[in-house]
Point group: C2
Chain length 345, copies 2
């Protein structure tokens, strides 16, 4: 396990979507975060205290979390220099970039000298199997999206917490760096060798016999030409009983690709259901979650109402309006059968 | 480059589909193969001379090609012991398994002592980009399949050679171990990190300005729950102008998965066209290639005629009947426009 508390790194970032790991930690586990570190040219903030690395260390921060991401996951020189400062102060460093901390000799050497650890949370377990497609016990919900970075992780954790609050057994199964840092475990499915995507998800979400749910964090989008392979393998490995479609209202184009339009909600949902049916023909859509952060309150309500009506599903912004309608839909769709009720009564 | 000629390894294999690398080399580059090596319990043969490793070395074999595959690509102890014999005789060793030669300390040590090289042909190039989806110049044909191991590589090479024979510029772009050993280059797309599948194919098949074709070897199947992620990323990275669907007549179930049925040809073709349209809306199907090895000649002709009529496409067994009808369909679908003819006249 990665020693907490964390100092959350923003560095020189100016892409609000690129800091989603730091933002996710500040939101979901604020009790584990002493503050944020950013340079003067960084226009972003997590709304928590801004600290220098030295100040954060003095307040007890044990790990610098390089919670930024960019397509492809490379690591810049400024980031390495900041990490060296933290290491020299005795802090561990954690990152989920494709470019690994252990592949930067300066960091490896400094960490060894300081007696601290580099945590590459995207490293996959050894000896993953290829996917079998064999049906396993238990129920699974997977979040899918019209694009990357539309709120799949946020939605997944909100749903899992709401299920628990409603008395259901439910586990969050993290598939990306942020989710893994929040949950303390998981597999970064976009970082496994391509032949093992669905197999990794079968390992991540094993059979469960308690009538509870695994809420599995989706990745990418079937409509993103860079990452649809990952999304496809994730759908097949998850064998979802339930899908929740995630979308950002008003996004102008696919993330990182100005030449690609965002798909329509109905088209995207149908493609996901069609793909999911290969390993679970009984898959159902149970809701739609919209990131309405570009809209005012009235517009946001109208957007959700309209989308929900068109798709015939509960539709909400989980940040603004919560996920209760989707929890109710799940209860309705997956009610214990009368027979099961009789048996357990 | 890997030193030739090769000794082709069958070992203890008893799965005819599992020896497709050795079989492909014996078929497509027989001039580079001195013979096959198999143990007494191996019921298979490539139809070339059976030699001991010592005999092969005496006849000039420079590399032992471990041309066998199994789901997941692991490496057994018997295989390692045979490779050690070859190394002790001064031969290089090449393999395309997921489990790498360089990860077996006994092989690494023996190779160093003998001054020979271990070739892991599945190793991907460093620093692959994520896919951009940006349209690039030139024409591309991709083979897709109802399942793994149905003849996509065979079909790809047959099409590329027939195109060249017809006077077209055409390159074979290998995406698997066998193709790479035959072509001398390529990228094993199932071995790249999942986020980079489509990006790897963009690198493998760069823009070309000679009005010629890249014939790209497909992998897996959109309907194989272990490997559909790879197939999806390959479709998106290839941006195919033309698809050829490959299928084995009479296959009882998906490879390695007795609980999964093989999809119908029409359903499979439509799913591939739909997926391909994300990065090339103009994609067209130009033919169907059937592996009819389980059928007699009359049945094989009838199967192809029936499938071709149902799909409205030329349909052939490339081994038995050649690929001429598909080459003619490509000429018809991709004829130079009248304007282009005028300009070049």
């Amino acid at each position: 396990m990665i020693p907490t508390p964390y100092l959350l790194y923003l560095g020189h970032s100016d892409d609000p979507l690129g800091i989603k790991t730091s933002r996710g930690l500040a939101h979901f586990v604020p009790e584990l975060c002493v503050g944020e570190f950013r340079h003067d040219d960084c226009p972003l903030t997590l709304g928590i205290e801004r600290l220098t690395i030295e100040e954060a260390r003095a307040r007890g921060a044990n790990t610098l979390v390089l919670g930024i991401a960019n397509p492809g996951g490379s690591m810049g020189q400024a980031l390495v220099e900041d990490a060296l400062v933290a290491i020299a102060l005795g802090m561990h460093v954690a990152a989920g970039l494709h470019h690994r901390l252990r592949e930067v000799p300066a960091l490896v050497e400094a960490a060894r000298a300081a007696g601290v650890t580099l945590f590459d949370v995207r490293d996959a377990p050894a000896d993953l199997p290829v996917g079998s497609g064999i049906k396993r016990a238990g129920r699974r919900l997977l979040t899918v999206g019209t694009d990357c970075s539309v709120g799949k992780m946020y939605t997944s954790i909100a749903l899992q917490r709401a299920m628990q609050a409603a008395g259901l057994a439910a586990d969050f199964r993290a598939t990306g760096q942020t989710g893994i840092l929040i949950a303390g475990r998981g597999i970064a499915v976009d970082a496994v060798v391509a032949d093992f995507i669905s197999g990794a998800v079968e390992v991540l979400s094993p059979a469960r016999s308690d009538d509870g749910w695994d809420v599995i964090e989706g990745q990418g989008s079937l409509f993103h030409p860079s990452f649809a392979g990952v999304s496809t393998g994730l759908l097949h490995g998850a064998q979802p009983d339930a899908l929740v479609l995630c979308h950002e209202a008003g996004r102008p184009h696919m993330r990182g690709l100005p030449h690609f339009a965002v798909p329509g909600l109905a088209e995207c949902l149908e493609a996901n259901l069609r793909t999911a049916r290969l390993t679970n023909p009984a898959v159902q859509a149970v809701g739609v979650c919209i990131n309405t952060s570009r809209l005012g309150e009235v517009e946001a309500l109208a957007f959700c109402a309209d989308a929900g009506q068109r798709l015939g599903l509960p539709c909400t912004d989980p940040v603004r309006f919560g996920v209760t309608p989707i929890i109710e839909e799940i209860a309705r769709c997956f009610a214990p059968s009368p027979l099961a009720t009789t048996v357990s009564a």
